[in-house]
Symmetry: C2
Subunit: 215 residues, 2 copies
DNA sequence: AGATGTGAAATTCTTCACAGCG
DNA sequence: CGCTGTGAAGAATTTCACATCT
């Protein structure tokens, strides 16, 4: 009912619904949400069932009310501030990507071990030396970390984040992290993803399964 | 036996084994691979079982031979060339990231609708206007596409890739794509991933499940 | 003793199918 | 009627547990 897969789909539904809201759409059927997000209609209904939210057979789901319900369920009370560690090409791209995007999460500070990258602003975000991380994370009450450091630095950096009382990490380094159980880690391994797509592109048979997404 | 999850794990094992090889390690037990990749030992054994590859109870798995077996199984015969579409911050970061990395996949050409970004080289990769895509993709026998375009351009660009006989797409735009069944699509939705981590970071209970990775 | 290979159980996730409502 | 909510079936995936080998 609150599995990782389910939450990932709810997040996708919410974005679709927000877009609909902007287009003035008031009602949506499970079938539409399903088509737009690439899942089965029954899956959408079951996912929404878990929210306790209920639509009507006649009009479907009230887009506005559903967005509110999803916000209640998905938006954590105190967790929306993130720290980015590693201001290389990938880190800078992530920073740029999140600027102006009305996501629920906001990157409050960036860190790099290279002192030349510290003490300036990049895409509107303050940059610090890595030594300032514990202090800034505590001061700004940051609870999320985004790791965009080289593979060799990933584990020590994760340890530092954990020691600074971070609760969740998105790791772009191609190294599985060892963390305490109370820290949620999501591995985003772009190289591995490309290799996977290469594999299934080669072995794609017509009539195969539908396209999948990364939860 | 050849599910998406399984292939994703095999790719991770392979990278670990390659690293071991570089460190001179000759033998590995299922337990070590499991610990390093964050899964159960039984899972590793079952995954390797599917390869038809067999270890010995005494020493475990022969790292060198296993890497060869994995290469046979995972490396598609003709599919290793990719095209990047969208040379913005994210696209440039991906390009930089893949340069020098000995991955099985290589980015052969980059495209952008902005003509100012065409006709030059970026991180060693030739850049073209989007109009040249069909020709270059055909000439270079490219079979994979990486989408790093704005959300609004994602679907039309995907259509163009599909028309150019691309077989697999990694989509960084936060929009699910509609593609024919014979095209494998992997959605990498960074905003959604961050929101998911925020959710589970907030709801993290001590004694919860281990960290997960993105297959 | 400790590790592999693997049936079988357990668990998780998805889809079916249909009652019931507007 | 077509759509929702949902029990039940069905698939897929993971984990257990143990015979077997060295």
């Amino acid at each position: 009912m609150t599995s990782e897969r389910t939450i990932a789909r709810l997040i996708v539904y919410r974005r679709l619904l927000n877009r609909m809201l902007g287009e003035g759409v008031r009602w949506a059927h499970s079938r539409e949400l399903a088509d737009l997000s690439g899942v089965q209609a029954a899956q959408v209904r079951r996912d929404l069932m878990g929210l306790g939210y209920t639509g009507t057979p006649a009009r479907g789901y009230d887009v506005c009310a559903l967005v509110r319900t999803l916000a209640e369920r998905l938006d954590p009370p105190g967790i929306r501030r993130a720290a980015l560690v590693g201001i290389g090409r990938m880190g800078a791209a992530i920073l740029a990507y999140f600027q102006g995007r009305g996501s629920g999460v906001e990157i409050r500070a960036a860190f790099d071990s290279d002192p030349r990258k510290a003490d300036r602003h990049l895409y509107g975000c303050a940059c610090h030396g890595i030594g300032d991380l514990p202090r800034v994370v505590a001061e700004e009450q940051i609870r999320l970390g985004i790791l965009a450091v080289p593979a060799g630095a990933a584990q020590p950096t994760a340890d530092l984040l954990v020691a600074s009382d971070i609760r969740g990490i998105v790791n772009f380094a191609p190294v599985p992290l060892r963390t305490p159980e109370h820290v949620f880690v999501e591995q985003v391994d772009i190289t591995a993803i490309l290799e996977k797509v290469a594999f299934f592109a080669a072995n794609a048979r017509v009539g195969g399964p539908l396209t999948r997404s990364t939860p």
